[in-house]
Structure formats: structure tokens, C-alpha cells
Subunit: 214 residues, 2 copies
DNA sequence: TTTGAAACAGGACGACCGGTCTTTTCTGGA
DNA sequence: TCCAGAAAAGACCGGTCGTCCTGTTTCAAA
């Protein structure tokens, strides 16, 4: 069953298959630990085909970030938050969905954006810019949702900072989850965020001294 | 000044120099992107010397984690929190010190523990266990401090979860900071943690530069 | 049917990887 | 003083890396 294949001649499908395989491999093993030969083998393509669509490994990595990692964040976070009833609902939903998928899978691969951001931000300015942009879009989407439900001008201005905090909490939680290979840190951080965001203070600058038990 | 050197014959110093160079390289470029030849060149040692102290690259990586990354977390976080007046003071101090060092350096290398945890947790069980342990010690130290200042039994029980949240916030903040190459996410998250944990208003950093010894 | 460009095959390439080897140099205890 | 063994040197190995090159196949327009 080797060598019996004919050429499909479907460039877009082949390109998509390479991207899918590369995205999965980069998430699971990292960029530098994945060789182009690995990708060729797993995707069932030859070196010529790979080189035709992606002349260098870097171009493949960049395409994975823009065409796979970005949309993944869009789906798992941005769309979830945007379509939720409240910002907190959306945030908790995103945490919970990912925690559940981790339980189902059994292993924690980590956030594809976070993984690549840490591995490649300093390696190459183009990588850094691509990932910085995704982080910014992500944070802005959360900030918009938070802002939309806060009439108070003071708190609306805080939305941006709060959104950064939410994104950071998630990124760190999944990093710890990866280190201990279970979803518990995600659920813990989700609970803390709920406690923090749940209290709806309409007051002006009345920051809670201590959380009232409710 | 090349080739003029005689043998120092100071095994411990040579071993320490290799570890220092490797730790710096792993933090800046990552484990897989750093070759043993890089380390040999930068540390000014030959292959024989490197192999004598660290037979494999993995053994070097493990030693870096246990003898450099662990103590770095101990110094920058655990000691800082433990010796601070309150848990919040210690946490803010840790954030602020690291943000300041980032400003001084100009580039964000990222948290050495976080960097390696994300790159190596899935690669090897021994790496994973070593880093999981450091995360646990770190979190427990923060939890102990939080617990010590809460007489309420309900809140004391929350200390562990809160500590996980603090560590996650920091890890995520520095990941985003690395992606955008500035310390702003660290300061933002520190302000949000301050608002969440305590009384401190989001003022400019008013933290005493030097803590009184007693 | 012809033809030119795109899509793909398959392997060659030089560089470099991590690791091993043998040899030489140094040292502390007997 | 001697010497067993640790410490360090430096060449060396098989394997693999990312890239590139030369053909071959396929499609669509002429």
C-alpha cells in the first residue's frame, strides 16, 4: 500500500493538511522539536511539496500562527466571550470548555498561542509581531465585553486592564496545568476570577476591602 | 587572550560556570535552540569537560532546573514573599522588582521556570516532575503567607487557591510581556491583584525600595 | 492539440547536532 | 615520592537537520 497513490492535485487541500499537521505538532512538541521531516511524514507529503507551499520552516511557522493559532483563539475565546450573556459568563465558559477538553484528552498540550509565544517571541521579530497581535485582539475582545456592561466611566476605563488580567490568568493557569498535567489550575483560577468579577460594585471608587462571603 | 590559559583545575567552579551559561542560554533561547556546542563556546570549555560534568544534554538541563531555576524562584519570589510585611506587599514587591529589571535590561527573557515548563513538560517525565515540584513549592510559600494573616478559617482554606491564582497571574503576565516585549502587563496585573487582594488603591508604585531589616 | 506555469516527487547537499573516544594533565592520599 | 583516578582536552562519529535542485505530472488557457 505504498506508492500506490496517485497525485491528488488539490493544492489548497494539501496546503491545509500540512498546516493542520504542523499546527498539531508545534502545539504538542514545540516548533524547534518538530522537524520538517516529521511534518512530511505525518502529513504524507514529500519534501518537494512542502517546499513548494512553504519555502522555509519559518514561513510554515508564520502561516501556522496566522491561519491556525489565530483562528483557534478566535473560536475558543473571542467568539465564546462575544456571544455570552455577560463577560463573566463567557470567561467562565472558555475556561470550562478547555478544562473539559483536557479531561477528555488526558494530557495537557497547552495553549498553542502561549506555547509558541514563549518559544519564539525572542527568536524572530516576525514571529513576535504575529503573536503580539493575536494577544492584542484577544485582550481587546474581552475588554469590549467588559466595557459594554459597565456604565460607570471609571470602571469602563478599567476594562482594558481587567482584560489583560483575565488573559494573563488563563495563560498562566494553563502553563501550570501543563507542568502538572491536569486541569485543576484552570478550574481554580476560574473560581477566583468569578469571585473577583462576580461582585458588581456600582459604587464609585469603593474597592472592596474584603470580599463579603455570599 | 585566547589559548593562553592554563588549566584552572577547579572542578566546582567550572561546573558552576557551565551551569550559569546554560541557564542563561536556556532562558534566552530555549532548551532545544541551544546546542551543547553553544554552551561549550560561551563557557569556554571543551567537549571533554562538558561531558565529564554532564554526560548528556538532558542531565545538564535537569541540573539547570534544580540548581539554577529553582533557586531563582526561591530568591525572586519565595524569599521576597516570606520576608515581606504582608503577603500582598511581598507579591507586589516581586512583580515590581521583576518589572524593573525588565526595564533595565530592555528585553523580556521571560520566567525561566515558565519557559522551560512549557517547552519541556511534555518532552520528558523527569523534566516535568522537576518543574512541577518548583511550582508546588512556590505556590505553597505564597499560600503559607496568605494563610498566616487570615484568622478566618474559611479564608484560610482559600489561601491555597488564591496562591495558585497569584502564581498563574504572574506566569501569564510575563508570557504576555514576553510577547510584546515590555513590562506593562506585569504592572497591570500587579495593580489588579492589589485591588483584588487588599486595600491598596491603584496608585503609582509607592513601595519602599528597601525593606527594614527588622 | 499545444504549451507554459503551477504542483508535486524524490533525493542530494553541507552544516551541525548530541554523544563517544582516546589522550593528556593535574591532584590528593598513601 | 609515587600513583590511581578525577578532570579536562580535542578530535571524531553516525545521524539528522533545513534547504535546495532537477525532473515529472497536471491543469487551464490558447
Amino acid at each position: 500500500m505504498i506508492g500506490e497513490k496517485k497525485r491528488t492535485y488539490d493544492p489548497l487541500a494539501l496546503r491545509a493538511r500540512i498546516l493542520d499537521v504542523a499546527a498539531a505538532a508545534f502545539q504538542a512538541r514545540g516548533y524547534h522539536s518538530t522537524s520538517t521531516h516529521d511534518i512530511m511524514r505525518e502529513a504524507g507529503v514529500t519534501g518537494g511539496a512542502l517546499h513548494h507551499h512553504f519555502p522555509t520552516k519559518k514561513s510554515l511557522g508564520l502561516a501556522v500562527i496566522k491561519e491556525r493559532v489565530g483562528p483557534a483563539v478566535q473560536e475558543s475565546w473571542i467568539d465564546t466571550v462575544r456571544h455570552a450573556r455577560t463577560a463573566l459568563d463567557g470567561i467562565l465558559r472558555a475556561f470550562d470548555d478547555i478544562a473539559e477538553s483536557i479531561d477528555n484528552r488526558g494530557t495537557v498540550l497547552g495553549c498553542p498561542l502561549n506555547n509558541l509565544a514563549i518559544e519564539l517571541s525572542l527568536a524572530d521579530p516576525e514571529f513576535q509581531e504575529a503573536m503580539r497581535h493575536i494577544f492584542a485582539v484577544w485582550r481587546d475582545a474581552v475588554a469590549d465585553k467588559l466595557r459594554s456592561e459597565r456604565s460607570d466611566a471609571q470602571q469602563a476605563r478599567q476594562a482594558e486592564e481587567l482584560a489583560t488580567f483575565v488573559v494573563a490568568s488563563y495563560s498562566g493557569a494553563i502553563a501550570i496545568a501543563k507542568a502538572q498535567q491536569n486541569a485543576e489550575p484552570l478550574r481554580t483560577c476560574a473560581r477566583q476570577l468569578a469571585a473577583m468579577l462576580g461582585q458588581r460594585p456600582p459604587a464609585r471608587r469603593r474597592l472592596a476591602r474584603e470580599q463579603p462571603a455570599s
